[in-house]
Symmetry: C2
Subunit: 306 residues, 2 copies
């Protein structure tokens, strides 16, 4: 599984407009979606290739901005109709949110089609879409080297057999603690992790929001702190940012061994913390690698024992 | 603040009977109380001195067991009447609990009186009791070297001025994240920590249950993982165990510098994890230092990055 040069990251997922009701105000038409956050984060470290669908209302300016970051947008399908739209309202403390509206629009008929140039991709991030579609992406890639996937409660409930086929074909699953409980049927995180690793993936990464994340693999358990922010603005997309930055950093290093994964997880946590500091992708959009490196140093200091 | 030999830890707090309704069953008359847990944990590392009150119904067998662990029980007052009793019911996932009953009994009139032999104590752990009584303990100690205190929502609400006097006289405050939010008036943990450090203590330790703990001090922030257990039985007393083990380990080392505190916090987290593995103090009672050392090694492995 080891290579030595920087790889591209192929990302499939949603692109969306989000209508966000945050403690700081109401923000309509915020560009979002799992693929958008994943790609913006990954592109800090490695070239990213996007597979997604947008409607005719999606601004070309945004696609230009993505391309300016080294993101390959040739895999973005332009469909007639409206772009996927999600509306949500966050609690005052940002710790919980409720979905006010989900309009699938052009996303309802999405079938990922990889441009020929994408088929040599080796680092693959399957964002949170229908498991059958995640499998279709894998069918179109010639020789995947490291595949990570996200999923959600809806697919765990309604598409379990397909999801289990996905789990057998991926190297890493990146989900949150509630999803782990639902997928494993175990409240206890450690027992749940053992069950999920038994379903196929070599590594399980459990996101725990403001509490950080945990990695479970054959090497043991690793504890990823969340960077303690002074000013949280918007957690939307932080989990996707985390997964995208993780894959970007691994692709940049061209290594996926256990220790490299631990180190890349600290980078992922760092980039995700910046995501929360702005509404939508605003903070990610202006983020410089130097800022990431400085905060990564601070994050490592949180674990300093010598 | 540095010394070089093992010190005693003076502990003041409650001794109680707990009636516990746990997912695994109903357990009446479980010996508990903050001072009991603190002392059992501290005594793994250093001699402990207890200041508390029990009623005439408290079994002398328990006091003998405490003495057998090197705990000085001369400061335990034997009052006429019943011992403090708390009854609580835990949710199925152990993540929350409700208080069913609180009977203060002899604890209602408790005024801590230190035996003369205790007045030279240098490491002091003020368990969760009325702030005025915490101050009375400090008045009776000749030259405290390192003082840690716990408190709770009730005192934060109703005894704020006395609590603020306590904060000015302690080195470390050990509270949970909800108490931090209440005490600071800030939801954000980092801003809340800055406010609390501004009220007096040099170090703030924020307990976050299954998510571990965080240390805030002039040196920065430190992230303490919780040991991921496979089988949680009873979280009662885990926070007191954490504080007791922390103070015991600091007293054993005779040092309270920032790095020593970080290392001692990992020992504290380790011992607290054992507490949760048994009902009441059962697991703490049988715990051997060798077991603590082994799990401490595993816990440090959760932070391993090299």
């Amino acid at each position: 599984m080891n290579t030595q040069s920087k790889q591209d990251v192929l990302i499939v997922g949603s692109m969306a407009f989000d209508d966000l009701t945050l403690p700081s105000g109401v923000f309509p038409d915020v560009v979002g979606g799992s693929a958008t956050y994943c790609a913006m984060a990954a592109s800090l470290f490695a070239p990213a290739r996007l597979v997604a669908v947008v409607g005719s209302d999606f601004p070309s300016r945004v696609l230009e901005e993505l391309r300016a970051r080294g993101i390959d947008t040739r895999g973005i399908e332009h469909a007639d109709g409206k772009t996927f739209r999600w509306a949500g309202r966050y609690a005052d403390n940002l710790a919980s949110r409720e979905t006010l509206k989900t309009e699938l629009n052009v996303f309802a008929d999405f079938r990922p089609k990889l441009p020929p140039e994408y088929r040599d991709s080796t680092f693959i991030l399957l964002g949170n879409i229908q498991p059958e579609l995640q499998l279709e992406v894998l069918e179109q890639v010639r020789a995947p080297q490291f595949v990570a996937a996200d999923t959600m409660n809806f697919w765990i409930d309604s598409e379990r057999p397909a999801l289990e086929r996905v789990l057998k074909r991926i190297n890493a699953l990146v989900i949150n603690d509630e999803e782990l409980r639902q997928l494993s049927g175990e409240h206890n995180i450690r027992r749940g992790a053992e069950r999920v690793l038994g379903l196929g993936p070599e590594r399980l990464i459990v996101k725990r929001g403001e509490y950080g994340a945990m990695l479970f693999d054959a090497e043991g358990i690793f504890f990823v702190p969340a960077f303690p922010l002074e000013d949280e603005q918007d957690p939307t997309g932080a989990g996707d940012t985390f997964a995208g930055a993780l894959m970007g950093r691994l692709a940049e290093l061209g290594r996926v061994d256990a220790l490299t994964t631990r180190q890349a997880l600290l980078s992922a946590s760092t980039v995700a913390s910046f995501c929360v500091e702005g509404v939508g992708t605003t903070r990610l959009g202006s983020l410089k690698l130097g800022e990431v490196k400085q905060r990564l140093g601070e994050l490592r200091g949180l674990l300093h024992l010598e």
